[in-house]
């Protein structure tokens, strides 16, 4: 990727205060995101993959300032928008949008599909006439594969996949430069997932929008993304181009993720030797010292408990960054 990044994240931290119990218990931070750097370039798809508790959704919301970052910079076209007020953010909002995981929950049940899709339009272009508003909504509906005559229907009258199309239409109607897609297919049926994945790819090609595609499913992320970022306990483990990440993963966690994902092919599955990692994700309230992955890492050594590995180009290519003291 070359040229100026659309979005440049440096040292992003999001800590949530939690009380440790007891009436006068001191609060200690839950480090949901703890020092993350990455760039997003115009028109590309950056995949963020991680398990629950890795902070992947928090990153998406911090980018859009729906959650205020604790530290770090979020540079949008060169301007740091971290800590912007609501009013300051408003003008940026038309350039960055979000698509949510649960399509039904992300749509107001009392509003028609047309009103939901038009909401960003009502906010940013309140002066447009009713018939133009309707025309633009219907044009968008056709683009995302909804019948334009369904404009007056309510979310509960659509299926899950159609509701996700409504959510995508709402995000796309102002032709934003960036869309954060937070697990957009996880709650959909298998046969619908492919439709939505293809739709996002088509819209990206047509409108040139950049995507941050957040998911726990490495296969889906790999399929849609140009570059993939692997997240663990609020820290970046590895970033690389998606082909490179798949064929030459350097971080033990990436390798474990790749090996854990079940492949829909009985021959491959039978022949596969699983690289199982033990145990569960540690609590983000009390992350391990040194490398956060060391408690489950098959290659952990004494040094891993002391030194925090930096995210460095370790993979041959300059954009293949790995945070591991002993990468393969």
């Amino acid at each position: 990727m070359s040229g100026e990044p659309l979005l440049s994240i440096k040292g992003l931290k999001v800590h949530f205060p939690t009380s440790s119990g007891g009436l006068f218990g001191a609060t200690r931070p839950l480090k949901a995101v703890d020092g993350v750097d990455f760039d997003v370039f115009p028109g590309e798809t950056l995949g963020i993959v991680g398990e629950s508790g890795s902070g992947k959704s928090t990153i998406g919301r911090a980018v859009l300032q729906l959650i205020k970052p604790t530290a770090g910079t979020v540079a949008w076209l060169g301007t740091n928008i971290a800590g912007f007020t609501r009013a300051q953010m408003k003008s940026r909002r038309r350039e960055m949008q979000i698509v949510f995981q649960d399509p039904l929950a992300s749509l107001n049940p009392r509003m028609t599909a047309g009103d939901i899709i038009a909401e960003p339009l009502d906010t940013f272009e309140p002066q447009i006439k009713a018939d133009e508003r309707k025309a633009r909504v219907q044009e968008m509906m056709a683009k995302v594969g909804l019948l334009p005559q369904m404009i007056n229907r309510y979310p509960h009258e659509f299926s899950g996949g159609q509701n996700q199309r409504i959510g995508i239409a709402r995000a796309m109607i102002l032709k934003p430069k960036l869309i954060v897609a937070d697990e957009p297919v996880s709650s959909l049926d298998v046969s619908i997932r492919a439709q939505i994945i293809n739709l996002l790819a088509d819209l990206q090609k047509e409108m040139g929008v950049a995507l941050i595609f957040i998911s726990h499913d490495l296969a889906v992320v790999r399929h849609v993304s140009h570059r993939v970022l692997v997240l663990y306990l609020g820290k970046v483990m590895e970033i690389a181009e998606s082909q490179v990440l798949l064929s030459r993963p350097r971080h033990p966690y990436t390798q474990a993720l790749l090996s854990a994902a079940p492949v829909p092919d009985p021959e491959v599955e039978r022949g596969k030797k699983r690289l199982l990692i033990e145990g569960d994700l540690p609590s983000p309230l009390d992350p391990p010292s040194g490398c956060v992955f060391r408690t489950r890492c098959p290659k952990a050594q004494a040094q891993c408990a002391q030194d925090i590995p930096a995210l460095e180009p370790r993979g041959g290519a300059s954009d293949h960054l790995v945070a591991c003291l002993f990468p393969d």
Partner: protein, 315 residues
């Protein structure tokens, strides 16, 4: 895909069925609720209209017709005794519920009592609704520390024994119609505020609020377009359940002698008076009690019907 379905479907716009329309359909399919609405409408209509057209006034005393049973043609002489025997002067005067111990027409007094009870019920509920929704929505929307302080204040008011509160008010200001509203409204809005706050909090966490924020919608826009329409359902249900609670509270206060003052009356006062005469003149208790019980049942059935109709869980 659009081409295939597009060819089959007419290009005419399809009208959606909103959740409100769904709820209305379900409500009208509920026989108990519909019957209750009809009965309630009749009771309310009678209470409002009868005092204008009935030949007797609610405070008109007929000295020669004290404690007269209902007319014989009602066919209840076995319980009430014969009007012709006990009170020949009342025969043919249209005292269809008989008269009370002061010789006043009981029917019109029940109607008048209904007026008072229903109006207290509706007005106090409206007051509670107004304060409760504003207070609860503010607390729920602002959240954090302000929410905490506001709700602790509600807790403090909850802890005050309200009978005590009413007695103090009555002692200080004397028995007064308006006091009833203040006393009852002061208690009922607390629950309303809690319900609205809880709803607001849970809706605020829903993703479509986040989506609206991401779309740059203002705070006021979020409250108006996204929060209020989704709070209305539970509030309506609670309102229909508050009205009977208020009527009951008023009756209770009147029963204790703290309520409406003679010659004005309410169902509570009538029942209170009736219970003293229960053994010798049972109609003085039976008629007002029947009206009140039927009304309360109706409100509760409507409330249940609304809850079933509005509850999204059964879909």
């Amino acid at each position: 895909m659009a081409s295939i379905t597009g060819a089959a479907a007419p290009p005419r716009e399809i009208q959606g069925r909103s959740l409100w329309q769904d709820a209305r359909r379900r409500l009208f399919a509920n026989k108990a609720a519909v019957t209750s609405m009809v009965i309630l409408a009749i009771v309310a209509f009678l209470s409002v209209v009868m005092p204008f057209v009935w030949p007797h006034q609610f405070d008109q005393v007929y000295i020669d017709r004290i404690s007269c049973p209902p007319p014989d043609y009602l066919g209840m002489t076995a319980i009430f005794g014969s009007q012709a025997d006990a009170c020949p002067s009342a025969v043919g005067q249209g005292h269809i519920f008989g008269t009370d111990a002061n010789g006043r027409d009981l029917f019109i007094r029940v109607m008048h009592g209904g007026r008072v009870s229903l109006s207290i019920g509706v007005t106090a509920t409206f007051v509670a609704l107004l304060i409760g929704v504003l207070y609860g929505a503010t607390a729920g929307f602002l959240g954090g520390r302000i929410d905490n302080y506001m709700m602790r204040f509600v807790d403090v008011l909850y802890a005050l024994p309200y009978i005590f509160f009413v007695i103090i008010l009555v002692v200080v200001f004397g028995r007064n119609y308006i006091l009833m509203f203040i006393a009852i409204g002061a208690v009922e809005w607390l629950t309303m505020a809690r319900i609205v706050r809880g709803q607001t909090l849970s809706i605020r966490r829903r993703e479509f609020i986040e989506a609206a924020e991401a779309a740059g919608v203002s705070n006021w826009g979020i409250i108006r377009r996204h929060i209020l329409p989704n709070v209305v359902g539970p509030v309506i249900v609670y309102v229909t359940l508050t009205v009977p609670a208020v009527i009951l509270a008023e009756s209770f206060l009147s029963f204790l002698g703290l309520g409406v003052q003679e010659p004005a009356t309410s169902w509570g006062v009538l029942i209170s008076d009736g219970k003293d005469q229960m053994e010798s003149y049972p109609w003085m208790l039976i008629f007002p009690a029947a009206f009140m019980v039927v009304t309360l049942f109706c409100f509760n059935f409507i409330g249940d019907g609304l809850r079933d109709a509005l509850d999204p869980k059964d879909r």
